[in-house]
Symmetry: C2
Subunit: 339 residues, 2 copies
DNA sequence: CTGAAAGCGCTAACAG
DNA sequence: CTGTTAGCGCTTTCAG
């Protein structure tokens, strides 16, 4: 068995209170006493028991991070930044992979996990923000990622996907492309992201006097390369081949480029490709991928700031905030030939 | 405030004991009582407090997963599988990103984190397995990933990197390549992985009667695409250009291919490339990457099995095991032209 | 089958 | 500056 605070107290010949003070540096302790206690701690290899501390304090120092999958480059990068940022604030992070399971997402919010988490950062997939917050365990501070919703008790941190998509498509239009396809619609999901990007896509087309065509809007079941590849193959098999593609994620775009390569379609000459997310793969693909780059560092910082505000507010009475994260279009070889 | 077991007991008109029994299904409870208690639970929205439970049980149901970075495709995929597998065993996972920091790695092992974790799965980076286990807090069950060491109190789960590297290089030799470079040595680290792959590389060369040449062994500081790109550029600037490259990770290989493309080097005709890890990017790169594929699913399952054995063994007296994970060479377009 | 009560390790209010 | 002690919410031994 490992030693407890009491053991240390006994060994140092002081009371538990004093040991606690030394450990937490909470009150002034006589230098001599402090040293004696410290020695006892070292000799016994004493480590405070977090469960006991949490039980008293009502806080665990642990926050949850729920994302669809760790695997994907976008969520991987984001999770990495969030964990670093959490560490900076002395929080430990529990990872929950929802795998796009609606029931699981819902259960996380209702606090079935046994109040281990002081707060939760969740990137919804199957459910809409409203559905999520409706079932939310009221006392659990929540921050929603990549989702925008009007009302709600939770904070929202996201880029303006409509505007960003519009910019991406406008870039293609500016290059003289007219037959612009979209890959990545997800009509079966309610998380809103795909809808918003589709909306921005159509808005840009309409502004240029081009009516959106349903056969150029391709749905996918997930956002992996495989899905992008399949959609691209379908498009190339169609009556009129597109001269540009706007993919709702870099992974989809990379899958699409893969198929284009295999079919001998030259990028960007015959087909210009734009992605979304700015993951590392896109910087090293061939050609490098033009993409919408959300400020991921900012997402991580803001999300944790929101959570901190909520956790440390006495009665969880902080009004719900909606933070829009900066983004910019990075033009690379997949739309404009490299020098 | 949220309700406690006591509140439920009061409301249902029974004792705390009975409520506890209902919640855990531990003892037989009269159907009628059970129902009354269940109603009280639902009405109050009662959730057991994990901190209190842990304090009693001495277990938290949380395990730690420490990896250098979440960001990278290999560790991202592995982490995803490990989290899924942990969930299957009703464990929650805390993620620690060591970022290759030796001090941090050491601190994790000494249990400074406050005994939140019932066990730890760690993929060492800066430290060797022996250094790690030497400082280990004896009572914390530990499983080491991607590392092999003779002695030690912890379990090891890893592929046989020497053999795998040998096979990869032998594949290149079989294709008639003779000027085979290696990218990915890490003389400043002690985690052993790079050394083993270098050893396998040299062994294969020697067997073919080719003396290893130091100028064809390239060191890197990290395993990212950027490092692979830099090393490849250096190699191409050298006196004799290699006709093949064995990279110690897929990321390094992808970075190397990127540079080769930019310089107009044709793959695989002029330069054959083999990676290690079998990450998804390599399946969609252009050309697709030949690579050593470790059975990641197996790594995840075995690692958690080991941890479970150790955690549930009464006195942590399970002898340290070394499990070798299956791997196979996947031949793709980066070494053999696609049909 | 259920109640009463001790105690896990720690913090903090109260006393000295 | 330090000791004593109640109690966080739960499980579990001992009675009944």
């Amino acid at each position: 068995m490992s030693s407890s605070l009491k053991d240390v107290a006994a060994r140092a010949g002081v009371s538990a209170r004093t040991v606690s003070n030394v450990v937490n540096g909470s009150a002034r302790v006589a230098a001599q006493t402090r040293q004696r206690v410290q020695e006892a701690i070292d000799e016994l290899g004493y480590r405070p028991n977090l469960a006991a501390r949490s039980l008293r304090a009502g806080r665990t120092g642990i926050i949850g991070l729920a994302i669809p999958e760790l695997h994907s480059p976008y969520f991987g990068e984001l999770a990495g930044l969030l964990v670093d940022e959490a560490r900076r604030r002395s929080w430990t992070v529990i990872i929950e992979q929802t795998r796009g399971n609606a029931e699981f997402e819902r259960r996380l919010l209702t606090g079935d996990s046994g109040r281990v988490m002081d707060g939760l950062i969740i990137s919804p997939w199957a459910l809409s923000a409203d559905e999520l917050t409706a079932t939310a365990h009221t006392s659990l501070p929540i921050v929603l990622l990549g989702e925008r919703s009007a009302r709600g008790k939770a904070d929202h941190v996201a880029v303006d996907s409509v505007t960003a998509a519009d910019e991406a498509v406008s870039h293609l239009l500016g290059l003289g492309r007219r037959r612009i396809a979209a890959i990545g619609l997800q009509p079966h999901l309610r998380n809103g992201t795909a809808q918003q990007r589709a909306e921005g896509y159509r808005r840009a087309l309409r502004r240029a006097g081009i009516p959106p065509r349903p056969e150029w809007e391709r749905s996918v079941t997930s956002l992996h390369r495989e899905d992008g590849a399949r959609a691209m193959a379908d498009l190339l098999d169609g009556d009129t081949a597109p001269d540009a593609v706007f993919a709702f994620s870099d992974e989809l775009a990379l899958g699409a480029m893969h198929v284009a390569h295999l079919r001998g379609v030259r990028i960007p000459e015959q087909l210009a490709v734009v992605g979304f997310d700015d993951v590392e793969d896109g910087r090293y693909s061939h050609p490098a991928l033009t993409t919408v780059s959300p400020d991921k560092q900012q997402i991580a910082q803001r999300a944790l700031q929101c959570l901190a505000d909520r956790i440390y507010s006495p009665h969880n009475d902080v009004p719900a905030a909606t933070l829009t994260i900066a983004h910019r279009l990075l033009v690379r070889g997949s739309t404009v030939p490299e020098a």
